[in-house]
Symmetry: C2
């Protein structure tokens, strides 16, 4: 006897995966692997593997767009709905909040709502964001 509930809790009973889910529930948009990697500062293979665990548990799904893969929470069933509503309140505090800040920065690099770069470390991110500002200043 194996319940859906315990399968789900096993899937989220890990700090890395909780941090990933936190990104999903707060950003409210599909995220690609490189964005998650940059927000959490963890190796790409870890993020990919943890994503596949969440996927096998029926919590997320992917939509492919070229080489990019946009992962998103599955919210069209009542158990997941309850869970997501709960997690939105339940996940808060140091790490979780820091991750969100990093993700928000990183999402500024999107163009037309799409990810257009791979991994960028913190320095590169700041540089890119400054360049972006300059471009905007010129256009005005």
């Amino acid at each position: 006897m194996k319940t859906q509930q315990s399968t789900t809790f096993k899937a989220i009973a890990d700090d890395t995966r909780l941090r990933m889910i936190n990104l999903f529930v707060t950003s409210r948009k599909p995220l690609c692997v490189c964005e998650i990697v940059d927000a959490l500062r963890l190796p790409q293979y870890q993020i990919s593997k943890h994503l596949s665990i969440l996927k096998n548990a029926g919590l997320i799904d992917v939509e492919k767009d070229g080489t990019w893969g946009y992962h998103y929470l599955i919210e069209d069933n009542s158990l997941n709905k309850m869970l997501i509503t709960f997690l939105k309140k339940y996940l808060a505090g140091d790490v979780f909040d820091d991750d969100i800040k990093k993700l928000e920065m990183r999402l500024l690099l999107r163009e037309d709502g799409k990810c257009v770069v791979g991994f960028v470390d913190e320095k590169e991110l700041f540089k890119k964001l400054k360049d972006r500002e300059k471009e905007l200043a010129i256009k005005e």
Copy 2:
């Protein structure tokens, strides 16, 4: 880095422990080991061990009364409060509902709100409950 949230999810990411928590959240009263054993029909050492896992995660505590130990959910912090409110809705279905039925029967054997017997299997339970009925009939 280890969050309280992942510690908690690890603790409840197991069917036996979810079933135990289900008993707590629905019965809304401290339960002793033998009552849980009888409701879930699992060996006593398993129940004891799973209880200690829940305890180490900060989800339950015990109040001793002689040899009996009454275990109850810790609800005086905001994370646990959120969790319990959520689980009350989230845990439902076949096993969970059956367990509740068994527990309710078993709790009928209490006297003055206290557990007064050890393990009783299904046959014995029915027998005891019939005897109880007879006693009550005589008293009236």
